[in-house]
């Protein structure tokens, strides 16, 4: 199994398309950083237009490395599923398309092993992509924009909020957020893997994964009670942005942020459990379908 896993990683590492995602992420982050370095104040003015009458803020200090990373993740983590689908959607269907699947399956390896190893390799790829994002969005931003307390702008119900997190209370939140994002994106990888089992070329599962994510995200954002109660709790997309929960900090009655606190840890934990359940269910479907599949390609 370990041998098989190493081979799978080797194959992924040798494919040029693997690096498209890294290049895309780098390009997007660099553009963000350049734009904020050049004209970050305009963005802050826009962000603060509802609250600036009763709130004074040193905008220069607010745009720091931590804040930049938050803004970048907020934008990028919606697009990353497409990049994950690029690799996971190709896992089985790409082999079928190349004709290597039939050769692979004539080797003394079980089909379950193949799915597990390909899933594990997709997971490693997801982690690598997130680490790269962390390096570019967090550490490079810290180097460019410096370190300071972090402000989070949030709309909760009808009211706009600004949460302040002191700089010594931020880094662990990022690690937790990236770990959460890894789980959320692994659901995408598992979904793409399931679709990959049924296809004979990579384009179909990649596009289908992206379409499912888009449709479910749209449904997750429809604010109608019947959907809120009956549909949203079952959609994985309702939990994809749950990483933000690590930045929602509790405050005292006087409005003083409580260091190390989380506003709603049970909600984060439940979201994580639901995402993990999605992974197991999707993986189970992929294994069952692949074991039954006749290889005719």
């Amino acid at each position: 199994m370990w041998n098989l896993f190493q081979i799978e990683l080797y194959k992924i590492s040798r494919r040029p398309r693997t690096y498209i995602s890294f290049a895309a992420i780098t390009a997007i982050i660099v553009i963000f950083q350049f734009a904020f370095k050049a004209d970050g104040e305009s963005y802050m003015n826009l962000l603060l237009q509802n609250v600036q009458d009763n709130f004074t803020l040193d905008k220069g200090k607010a745009i720091n490395g931590y804040f930049m990373c938050y803004i970048i993740l907020n934008t990028l983590l919606i697009q990353v599923p497409i990049l994950i689908a690029l690799i996971a959607g190709d896992a089985i269907s790409g082999e079928a398309n190349m004709g290597t699947l039939r050769l692979l399956l004539t080797k003394p390896i079980s089909r379950t092993q193949i799915i597990l190893v390909k899933f594990a390799a997709s997971f490693v790829y997801t982690i690598a992509l997130l680490i790269w994002m962390a390096v570019m969005a967090l550490f490079v931003s810290l180097a460019i924009f410096g370190v300071d307390d972090m402000l989070i702008f949030r709309v909760k119900g009808e009211e706009s909020q600004i949460l302040q997190i002191t700089q010594d209370d931020i880094m662990w939140r990022y690690f937790a957020a990236f770990a959460y994002a890894a789980v959320a994106l692994t659901v995408i990888a598992a979904l793409a893997m399931v679709l990959s089992v049924f296809a004979e070329n990579s384009i179909g599962p990649i596009i289908a994964t992206v379409c499912i994510v888009i449709v479910c995200t749209v449904v997750s954002n429809i604010n109608v009670p019947i959907i809120d109660d009956n549909v949203k709790p079952w959609l994985f997309t309702s939990y994809l942005v749950g990483w933000k929960g690590f930045f929602y900090i509790n405050s005292t009655e006087d409005g003083v942020p409580i260091k190390g606190s989380l506003e709603n840890w049970p909600a984060i934990r439940n979201s994580l459990l639901i995402l993990v359940a999605h992974i197991f269910i999707l993986l189970g479907i992929a294994i069952t379908a692949f074991r039954k599949k006749d290889i005719l390609s």
Binding site: G99, K107, D294
Partner: protein
């Protein structure tokens, strides 16, 4: 001689169409076993069932005297295969492809082993070239290296000469015969070309619409005494008139255009000599039968002809 492959009452259906229908056959140790049938006859489906790529609807497959379904890994460890095209990872080199599939076969891989294998198929000079730069023949040779790298006892080749040039076809035939005769391997080779099976195999099965229509020793099945021979001359009308008045008239078959005989293949030189003697200019004189004719001869013994196809 022990039985290596034993297939009993194999069935497979796709969307209500019977691809393989009550198929039974055995392959003995050291056989080059020809799997013959027209396109769509069920050859590939059967071969894919032997390699666990397709699940049988019903029936039993035993390889090395073990049930395939229950002993899949153990059996596949001793089996090498090429299924139709030899597809590999195009973005990897020949060496890397061989290394990947050798490791997947469960053997300990060394550089020497891999290079030796590439040397055998004449690809050692190109070991570092990416497969996407290879010709079809080179890919086929690499496919052979992959199929043989783990020294399997049973080799299954599905249409191995597809897409090869004449030299490639000749090399492949030589290799298959060599695998059996010199290395004692058991080979199952499928083809839709009778001439190929005739040259390579010692035993064969003929299938049509998923059903076995004949099985046995090639030498017994391909009867040379009833060969269709086709003649083309500079003046067919004159030639036919002369033939009707000669001892060859008994062998002339009714045919529009070209002149056809049903005769023993060994008599062809005598016929040629007689034609020359009678001043008939020969353009072509050759045994000429299609697979279709051979199938007809199997289903209707009165039409029995010797199979030679192009």
């Amino acid at each position: 001689m022990s039985v290596i492959v034993s297939v009993q009452q194999l069935f497979k259906e796709f969307d209500g169409v019977k691809a393989v229908n009550d198929l039974s056959f055995t392959v003995n140790e050291g056989d080059v076993y020809g799997f013959l049938g027209q396109n769509g006859a069920g050859k590939s489906t059967t071969i894919r069932m032997l390699l666990t790529l397709v699940k049988p609807g019903s029936g039993s497959i035993k390889i090395f005297d073990k049930e395939l379904a229950a002993n899949r890994s153990e059996i596949l460890r001793q089996t090498g295969a090429i299924i139709e095209r030899p597809d590999m990872y195009k973005y990897l080199s020949a060496y890397d492809n061989l290394s990947v599939f050798a490791r997947l076969s469960g053997i300990k891989v060394s550089r020497k082993l891999l290079m030796d294998q590439l040397e055998k198929v004449d690809l050692a000079q190109r070991y570092n070239s990416k497969v996407k730069t290879f010709s079809q023949g080179m890919k086929q040779r690499l496919g052979i290296a992959i199929a043989l790298v783990h020294d399997p006892k049973l080799i299954i080749l599905d249409e191995p000469t597809n897409g090869l040039d004449p030299q490639g076809i000749a090399d492949m035939r030589k290799l298959i015969i060599n695998l059996s005769k010199e290395q004692g391997k058991t080979v199952i080779v499928s083809s839709h070309l009778l001439s190929e099976i005739e040259v390579m195999a010692n035993r064969m099965i003929v299938i049509d619409k998923g059903k076995k229509i004949a099985e046995g020793a090639v030498s017994e099945m391909l009867d040379p005494s009833s060969t269709i021979v086709q003649l083309e001359t500079t003046n067919n009308e004159k030639a036919l008139n002369l033939l009707h008045q000669s001892q060859w008239n008994a062998f002339v078959e009714p045919s529009a255009g070209l002149i056809k005989f049903r005769m023993n293949k060994n008599e062809i030189p005598s016929l040629a000599a007689w034609l020359i003697q009678n001043d008939i200019g020969i353009i072509a004189l050759q045994p000429k039968h299609s697979l279709e004719e051979y199938f007809l001869s199997l289903t209707n013994p009165e039409n029995h002809v010797e199979p030679v196809s192009n």
